[in-house]
């Protein structure tokens, strides 16, 4: 049996499948972090169109941290900070002042794209220094499984932590006051206010966490997935994360699965190359977006957005 498998080349060979799954995870993790962050925000009633900008800020600052600090963990931390910087604009303008979430989101994205490009040019000129691959942690025993062992169970530590975080988020949403308050802020902020809890504080923390997670996702992208920072490198992944959050109806574990699926469609080029299948890169890069439109047409009707999404909260106004 193994002989047959080993002998077969083409699309189902071990190398291809491994590449597919590994690529899916590597590409999916930035999406996952960002989408988990967006889940928190949306649950609380804030829509974050600035995710793309926050990811880029995280990607650039994260890269700088890893490059000059010689430590990917420093990079990850700095990346989270970068994302939070972008999010703080959202907090101050949208949550506190009640300004339009969509316009500020667009501004954050443009600012993120512009600033990181300018800074990259100022810092590195036209060179694009690379980072070495960060150390992967192989889970003993499990890493011997064919295909999955080399892909799923041999990833940087942050990957496992991220997935564990998703699980923790489930608990937070369901069984803690924090989760209940977030839900109330998104469904009916007047009720939260009447219960004596600050809607603004709740939403502020939510948005800042989103920023941190998006920055972390961006840092993961530049440090782990690509090993380099290029301007506009997120190529729409911030928006993908928003869609994943919407389609997965605010459930963290579904977000993990969805992110990996989209990650597979993002990274499928490499796997196809290994399989010897030559498809235009452009076509392949369109796949995730086509997948999104198709899922929106098929399942979009059943996805869920909290009623108070995008409405700034002002006490006493009706």
């Amino acid at each position: 049996m193994t002989g047959i498998l080993a002998a077969s080349s083409g699309i189902f060979s071990k190398a291809v499948l491994t590449s597919l799954v590994a690529g899916g995870i590597v590409a999916g993790l930035p999406l996952m972090f960002t989408a988990l962050g967006e889940t928190i925000s949306e649950r609380a009633g804030v829509l974050n169109l600035g995710l793309e900008g926050m990811m880029l800020l995280g990607a650039y600052l994260g890269f700088i941290g890893a490059y000059y600090g010689h430590s990917s963990w420093l990079g990850f931390a700095l990346g989270a900070v970068g994302g939070m910087l972008g999010a703080s604009l959202m907090v101050s303008l949208c949550v506190w002042l009640g300004l339009d979430q969509i316009v500020v989101g667009i501004a954050i994205t443009l600012a993120g794209e512009g600033i990181t490009s300018v800074l990259q040019g100022a810092e590195f000129g036209s060179t694009y220094p690379r980072l070495g691959s960060p150390s992967a942690v192989a889970i003993p025993l499990l890493d011997k499984i064919p295909v999955l062992g080399a892909s799923v169970f041999t990833q940087p530590l942050l990957a496992y932590l991220g997935i564990a975080f998703a699980g923790a988020l489930v608990w937070v949403f369901r069984r803690t006051n924090v989760g209940l308050n977030l839900r109330a802020a998104g469904e009916k902020p007047e009720a939260l206010d009447a219960a004596g809890i600050s809607v603004l504080a709740t939403r502020s923390w939510a948005v800042l966490s989103t920023g941190a997670l998006a920055g972390l996702g961006g840092a993961y992208l530049s440090i782990v997935a690509a090993g380099v920072f290029t301007p506009f490198m997120t190529q729409g992944q911030g928006y993908m994360a928003i869609v994943i959050a919407m389609l997965c109806r605010g459930r963290p574990l579904w977000v993990v699965v969805g992110s990996i699926l989209f990650g597979i469609s993002l990274s499928i080029t490499t796997a196809l190359q290994i399989a010897g299948i030559n498809i235009s890169n452009d076509l392949v890069q369109m796949l995730p977006f086509i997948a999104i439109i198709v899922s929106l047409m098929a399942f979009g009707r059943r996805s869920y957005l909290p009623p108070a999404l995008c409405i700034p909260y002002v006490r006493g106004a009706r």
Binding site: N177, R183, K188, A191, A194, A195
Partner: protein
């Protein structure tokens, strides 16, 4: 002397019975004043809330009751005056502070979160701990249910509860952290007579436990039926109070006369007007002179609901020229679906709708409007007007593209302005100018804009949905008069949750329950009871007693 608020927030202690009449008042309001730009909402108001007593705040819409209540609940800050709780001066700076002082509020519009379960709603904001204490909450809920004498399922989603059940949960939530005072804002506005009866018994049990209850309403007969003490507000001032002894000593008619005097005082010119208002309270009889011609008919009409609101099923109605047909029912039983089926905003999935004999089911909103079939929506701000646009444009918004306001696709503002001025005059719309933004008008004037738009340009059949909801008394009378005027060669359909209103204006009243017409009643003596009975006929109560009419207490 027991000073325990009811029930305790310390989780392990059982509820305590407090002496029904405590010497220290639960809350004292002294000289409260509050103004907003352009209006004095509260002017030097002083009142006392005593434990074990249901204190009713009575006044028409705009009298200042809700502002006062908002101040008590911590939503607003008074400009002047003092507040004392249990004898101590306090500042109620936020809803949180109010809760900490033991003041719980049940608002008119539900603050429950529909998507959350009952237990989640109760847990919201209850503690600072990270984990939710679900088991503890379940136990407390059981205790409260016992005290109130009701049954509440902790795991039902709030939006799946009946309106009476939602209110019970809101009361429990208001008392959750241990309260001395319960504020109820217009609690009966959405209830069936049966549910009002249940509320009455809940309040009795709560006052027995020593709670001070404040009850805000604009309905005379409820104040008389439920209140131990009645304070009357008018134009921001406290015009008078009626205490327990006086209530016990007077007949219902005397009470109502006294209250009406306090509520309207010298605004009413003659005894006749007072009598008319009183009659309006009890129910009005009218004789109908119906023509044979059918103005509007629905035959076995079905329409889908949306979200949590039901649609209509197998509805058949006939409205003749020259008559006013009322549609009664508890809110949320298909009224909106019915209204929108008539206006054209919703499609019939089954059945027919005819206007003056001709089927109009496939006609667009604009086409029906042109034929003279009109709809005055209850959602004035949400769909009735475009707030950002001037009054003049709002008056012609249902005729976009039509002459004389548009010629060759081009707008003719002078024609619009000319007709707008005429309509503003005819309908007495108070506005700084015809170009003022519609949203700046008061509720009553916005309603007049809607009426001006729908009743002019050859209206033949007009459907009204909650036409006087939230309006002051003057405008309410004007609107009801206009409805009555449609009897001259035209017809009106009035969908309302206010039974008093329907009894005053309708010739016949049909009752809508769960999307079906469950019966029809000729307006006249005894109509109120019959309609009330029909409204609850759908609910399977077995051998439940009939609700007592809220005509007064002995």
């Amino acid at each position: 002397m027991n000073d325990q608020p009811v029930p305790q927030s310390a989780r392990s202690e059982p509820a305590e019975l407090a002496a029904a009449s405590d010497q220290t008042p639960a809350v004292e309001l002294l000289g409260i004043g509050k103004s907003f730009p352009g209006v004095v909402a509260n002017d030097d108001i002083s009142l006392v809330l005593r434990r074990g007593e249901v204190h009713c705040l009575l006044g028409e819409n705009g009298a200042g009751k809700s502002t006062l209540m908002a101040i008590l609940a911590g939503m607003q800050q008074p400009d002047s005056g003092r507040i004392r709780v249990a004898g101590e001066d306090v500042r109620i700076s936020s809803p949180r502070a109010a809760l900490a002082l033991g003041i719980g509020t049940v608002y008119q519009h539900s603050t429950l979160i529909g998507a959350l379960s009952v237990i989640e709603n109760l847990l919201l904001g209850d503690s600072r701990a990270l984990r939710l204490d679900v088991a503890g909450a379940r136990q407390r809920l059981a205790e409260f249910s016992a005290i109130l004498g009701v049954q509440v399922d902790p795991d039902t989603r709030a939006r799946d509860l009946a309106l009476g059940g939602q209110q019970q949960v809101e009361i429990i939530k208001a008392l959750w952290r241990g309260s001395r005072v319960l504020i109820l804002d217009e609690p009966t506005s959405m209830l069936t007579p049966q549910a009002v009866h249940e509320l009455q018994s809940v309040l009795e049990r709560l006052t027995q436990h020593g709670l001070a209850v404040v009850f805000i309403t604009h309905k005379l007969h409820e104040a008389v039926a439920l209140g131990d003490r009645i304070s009357v507000l008018r134009a921001g001032r406290l015009t008078g109070a009626i205490d327990r002894e006086q209530i016990k000593a007077s007949t219902p008619e005397q009470l109502e006369a006294a209250i009406v005097r306090l509520m309207f005082g010298d605004a009413l010119d003659t005894d006749e007007e007072i009598a008319e208002l009183q009659l309006g309270v009890e129910g009005h009889r009218r004789t109908r002179q119906a023509d044979a011609e059918v103005a509007l008919s629905l035959e076995h009409a079905h329409a889908r609901g949306d979200g949590s609101q039901p649609g209509i099923e197998d509805v058949s109605l006939t409205l003749h020229l020259g008559e006013v047909l009322g549609i009664a029912g508890v809110d949320g039983n298909g009224q909106r679906a019915l209204a929108e089926v008539i206006s054209g905003q919703r499609r019939l999935t089954h059945g027919e709708i005819r206007f003056l004999g001709a089927p109009v089911g496939s006609l667009s909103i604009a086409a029906r409007e042109k034929l003279g079939l009109r709809y005055v929506t209850d959602d004035r701000l949400g769909e009735g007007i475009v707030g950002a646009m001037p009054v003049s444009l709002n008056l012609v918004l249902k005729r976009i593209g039509q002459a004389p306001y548009w010629r060759h696709g081009r707008i003719r503002r002078d024609a619009i302005d000319r007709d707008a001025r005429a309509l503003v005059e005819r309908f007495d719309i108070r506005t700084p100018g015809i170009h003022a933004r519609a949203a700046t008008l008061s509720g009553g004037n916005i309603q007049k804009v809607l009426l001006a738009r729908e009743l002019s340009f050859d209206a033949k059949v007009v459907a009204f949905h909650k036409p006087t909801y939230g309006l002051d008394v003057r405008t309410t009378r004007t609107v009801r008069r206009m409805i009555g005027e449609l009897r001259n060669g035209r017809a009106a359909l009035v969908i309302s949750t206010d039974l008093d209103e329907l009894l005053e204006v309708s010739d016949r009243i049909a009752v809508l329950s769960r999307g079906r017409i469950v019966g029809e009643v000729e307006n006249g003596p005894g109509a109120a009871e019959q309609v009330g009975r029909l409204m609850i006929s759908d609910v399977s109560l077995g051998a439940a007693p009939l609700p007592e009419p809220l005509a007064g207490r002995v």
